[in-house]
């Protein structure tokens, strides 16, 4: 890994370098929030000072909300030829890169999901460390620093960005943009970097205490507060849509009128919906909303550790910002800790 310097006066030239590698996507405003949008002009590529957490995280590039998996006839099937463009996504915060690392494990361990892989191979991630937002708690979930999973990663050190190169693709980019990415990093860079990190660590607002929650999930599994949350839950499923590590989907076959040909669709599903856990014979494994909430929080704070070595909550705070009735990691942890 190596580090370079990108002067802020050269920031405007970044778009032209990146667009040589594919479509450039970055946070663009939508109402009072941001979404990842395609950038068409160099002026629209804005690197924000604070962490930007678009409504739907990076997973939208890797697994579209609704797509056709295959088309079939009575005798054969074919996977649609897709022209998946290489996408350079700019401004991804560390937590969301951790989330992509988790998705990588999920979609490639034991069984490789090719729909995921072909998009993953075409995704270039340019991370950016920013000022934490009100709901951020990546400092508590150990996801405020990221060491892998990005191609380039930017730190704002005043009048320049310190740029970490994290992959061969990232290296290709800095070589292509040799006139803006400089090897000559200022002598006091280490000092500034330490200072940046120190200031950043001090600026968190959310101080949710995650210590011991993995064990508490087990101990509090039958606590009555789950039923209180269950009564409040609107089952809107927004938490699962905005969560950067939620991966659940449903698969349905849409037949043509003939009943012979058709297509198989795959779309994001949510464990907050009743039908998600409904099986043949009308049995439902998680009839109540409380049970579904428990499942989700178990998955986020505990169960993933056994499979992949870390919890699947990356501390982005989207559930805090999104749940209309305030069921989120903070309120759940508060209840668990009394």
């Amino acid at each position: 890994m190596r580090a370079l310097k990108l002067s802020k006066k050269d920031e405007i030239k970044l778009y032209d370098v990146l667009k040589e590698f594919g479509e450039v996507w970055a946070p663009v405003p939508k109402g009072s929030k941001y979404v990842y949008g395609k950038i068409e002009k160099k002026e629209d590529l804005v690197i924000h000072e604070e962490c930007i957490l678009p409504i739907i995280p990076v997973k939208k590039f890797l697994m579209p909300p609704d797509f056709t998996m295959l088309k079939f006839t009575p005798s054969k099937y074919s996977i649609p030829e897709e022209d998946i463009p290489t996408t350079v996504v700019v401004g991804v915060p560390a937590c969301d890169i951790h989330a992509v690392n988790i998705l990588d494990k999920f979609y490639t361990t034991d069984y490789v999901d090719n729909y995921y892989m072909k998009r993953r191979e075409r995704l270039i991630i340019i991370g950016k460390s920013g000022t934490p937002r009100e709901n951020c708690f990546c400092h508590k979930s150990n996801t405020s620093i990221v060491e892998e999973g990005y191609d380039l990663f930017f730190f704002d050190l005043g009048d320049y960005y310190l740029v970490w190169v994290g992959s061969e693709k990232g290296d290709d980019i800095v070589r292509k943009g040799a006139d803006i990415f400089s090897e000559e990093v200022p002598k006091d860079v280490s000092k500034k970097f330490v200072e940046f990190r120190r200031n950043r660590n001090k600026s968190y607002i959310n101080d949710v205490d995650l210590e011991g929650v993995t064990d508490l999930m087990e101990l509090m599994y039958d606590a009555p507060f789950w039923d209180e949350f269950g009564e409040k839950c609107l089952s809107c499923g927004q938490c699962t849509m905005v969560c950067p590590t939620c991966t659940c989907f449903n698969v349905i076959d849409d037949l043509a009128l003939s009943g012979e040909t058709g297509e198989r669709r795959r779309y994001w599903d949510s464990c907050m919906f009743k039908d998600y856990s409904l099986v043949a014979g009308q049995h439902n494994f998680r009839e109540s909303k409380a049970e579904r909430l428990k499942l989700w929080y178990t998955h986020k704070l505990k169960a993933f550790i056994g499979h992949f070595g870390s919890p699947s909550c990356v501390g982005c705070g989207r559930c805090i910002e999104t749940c209309p009735v305030d069921i989120n990691v903070v309120t759940v942890v508060e209840k668990m800790k009394g």
């Binding site: 939508k30 109402g31 009072s32 929030k33 979404v35 678009p54 409504i55 739907i56 939208k60 909300p65 609704d66 009564e231 409040k232 839950c233 609107l234 089952s235 809107c236 499923g237 927004q238 849509m241 905005v242 349905i252 849409d254 037949l255 043509a256 009128l257 003939s258 009943g259 779309y267 994001w268 599903d269 949510s270 919906f273 009743k274 039908d275 909303k289 910002e321 999104t322 209309p324 009735v325």
Partner: protein, 259 residues
């Protein structure tokens, strides 16, 4: 060649938009004629048989007169599978927004005075399942083309139609919208059956529930939330009622009692 299944598309009180939604499947309409023999299509054919013996009957609209009621019963007798087609047939539609308040006659007299009806005797709007056995339903106001075609295809092949048992919020998030509830708007997305692809919230307009109430709708929690946001109880309940029809009366009678 196997005999084509026969189809009847009937309409009672409503805007006829569900029937038009069938015509709106332009690309696939010709294909539809290849697979079904349409015997009745009130909105689109001039040589309709009155009520035909059909394998599948799609019934749009609510029942608002005795004449319609008799016709509905005849449709039921002559249909293999009877499908409630769209919101009005399923829940009564907006004409049933005051169902359960016990003041229909009072309202009727206020509008029509002591007018005498001889051909069709009016009655309070009701969804069709109040009178006849309904075998399947297709939600929507009007039903979306893909959802309707999926249901029709399933019916043609002897299967029960599946519908989208997830709220509008799912598709709203697919379209990366900010939650309008969090934005302080009176949005019924979480209470409402999806399948519409969330066009209203995508244009910053709150969902008013036109697809009908989803099984798991949590009206109690949403009412509480909206009150906390400063909406008046009566305004919230009124919004719940617009497309709630019979389902809101059945599901949340207790809630209505607070009115």
């Amino acid at each position: 060649m196997k005999k084509k299944p026969t189809l009847g598309i009937y309409g009672f009180t409503g805007c006829a938009g569900c029937q038009l939604a069938v015509l709106d499947c332009e690309d696939i309409l010709v294909d539809l004629f290849n697979y079904v023999d349409i015997k009745v299509f009130y909105e689109a054919m001039s040589n309709n048989e009155d009520v035909a013996n059909v394998d599948i009957a799609l019934v749009e609209g609510s029942i608002n007169t005795n004449k319609q009621l008799n016709e509905l019963k005849e449709i039921r007798e002559k249909a293999g599978v009877l499908v409630a087609f769209g919101s009005c047939a399923n829940f009564g539609g907006i004409q049933a927004m005051a169902l359960g308040d016990g003041k229909w006659e009072q309202r009727f007299t206020r509008v029509y005075g002591d007018a005498k009806f001889t051909v069709a005797i009016p009655r309070e709007a009701q969804p069709i399942h109040k009178f006849v056995k309904v075998d399947a339903f297709i939600p929507g106001c009007p039903p979306s083309t893909p959802q309707m075609l999926r249901a029709l295809t399933q019916l043609l092949h002897g299967n029960q139609p599946t519908y989208t048992n997830s709220p509008v919020c799912l598709e709203c998030k697919f379209r990366e919208n900010e939650c309008l509830l969090n934005d302080g708007k009176l949005c019924l997305g979480p209470l409402t059956m999806g399948g519409c692809t969330a066009p209203c919230p995508s244009h910053n307009t709150p969902c008013i529930g036109c697809w009908g109430i989803i099984d798991e709708a949590n009206h109690t929690s949403e009412l509480k939330l909206l009150k906390e946001k400063g909406f008046k109880t009566e305004d919230i309940i009124q919004r719940f009622r617009i497309f709630g029809g019979s389902k809101i009366v059945e599901k949340v009678q207790k809630l209505l009692e607070v009115e």
